[in-house]
Assembly symmetry: C2
Homo-oligomer: 224 residues x 2
DNA sequence: CTATTGTAAATTGTCAACAATATGCAATAT
DNA sequence: ATATTGCATATTGTTGACAATTTACAATAG
């Protein structure tokens, strides 16, 4: 690692932030399942640090709705039931509509190219039936849309909700060769509508897309 | 203080939570102005505790978007410019619409009575021209609406945005005898529409109400 | 055998001390 | 006079230790 990079790291990164990022990553990736207790001392010694920064990271995760404190009993990864997941979706739906409007309105050559690239990669994963990779690109596509609204508050609010949704067990939709092709089609249409800068249509499409996801979530959780 | 209360406090409250609540209260009340540096040691000794819980509270406030860390330089109350305030409003507007729908749909005799009481109190403050008190009741009215949607995620998301807006200097609208009467009229109409359980009208009214607030915010900040 | 009590281990809550970094100011050199 | 260097002070970042609470389990009484 070169000197300027190291300096920048030391100037910006604290142990607290590192722990926070690492734990959030593990939770979002499903490595730390909802309900798992997180013990300060264990995490601290694993990372070779003291308990202070771990506790600070816990407080940040608590505010993000990813873990829950129970005084004197410790911290556990938050568990979401179907009702809570549906409530989050209820908030997400109008935000997706807003994202559709703004991203279509604010589209630049750079963001257009970036979105196009992701859709193209999605097409390739469908061709080779790489469902896990498709799922990741799906998240990325929607994350980029939120980012390209150029509204940090919207992006932040949106991300909060999406990360919390990962605490619901059957959130990640189990794609099969049939549904994945339909999903690809839908995302291509969304991209084209945004690329055409059709604000009203983008808004309607993304709202409907979120509503459909909610329906699938209900169906999936009732069948299991 | 009686024993059961004390026990409940000890079982649930930690120093971290107390510090967090106290600081958030001071920030929201405008006692700690945007840009103010917060020194750990000073706050700790003021409250008669050590720096640990204060740091944890800082991390929580950071995640709520109320303070900002600068490594090795400390924490300051976050400052919002007009653009950021408008971006927050952009998110708030569709949420207000959703609140209108849900609160009209979910209205119970209890919530109805509670809202009616607040509107009545607002009327009294207008009669006696108590503008600060009216402003407080105004916040309370909208907070209750969000709460009565019975969607904790929506309430949480909404509160985040509203608290952050208080970081913008000219957020609290300066009422005068003319505008306060108009505002009261508007809130009475909102209440009546919700009481009539007119979902579509409640949605439209609250969206428009939020949009009008945004316009006033722009006007107020340009004139100052 | 069941229920209760007591005790030990583990874990969290809090604190105080140490290390590292930034800030302000005086001294010096150009 | 201005800029730079060096030092003292203040503040944050991190750590390890102590206090308080919970949990698990064994011992005891009924």
């Amino acid at each position: 690692m070169n000197a300027p990079e190291t300096i920048k790291l030391l100037r910006t990164q604290s142990l607290t932030n590192l722990v926070h990022e690492e734990l959030e990553r593990r939770i979002a990736a499903g490595q730390l399942l909802p309900g798992t207790p997180l013990r300060e001392a264990s995490i601290a010694t694993d990372l070779g640090i003291s308990r202070g920064p771990v506790r600070e990271a816990f407080r940040m995760l608590e505010e993000r709705g990813l873990v829950e404190f129970e005084k004197n009993c410790g911290v556990r990864v938050r568990q979401l039931d179907l009702e809570q997941a549906m409530q989050i979706y209820q908030v997400r739906i109008p935000l997706e509509a807003l994202i559709g409007e703004l991203v279509a309105h604010r589209l630049t050559p750079e963001t257009h190219a970036s979105l196009q690239q992701v859709v193209e990669q999605m097409r390739l994963t469908v061709t080779r039936q790489d469902i896990p990779c498709y799922t990741e690109l799906n998240f990325l596509f929607h994350d980029l849309l939120a980012k390209y609204t150029a509204n940090p508050s919207l992006y932040d609010t949106y991300r909060r909700l999406v990360v919390q949704l990962k605490l619901f067990r059957s959130y990640t939709f189990r794609h099969n060769p049939e549904t994945i092709a339909l999903s690809l089609q839908e995302h291509q249409t969304i991209f084209e509508t945004i690329a055409a800068r059709d604000i009203a249509a983008s808004k309607a499409l993304l709202r409907q897309h979120a509503q459909d996801s909610l329906i699938r979530l209900q169906a999936a959780s009732q069948s299991s």
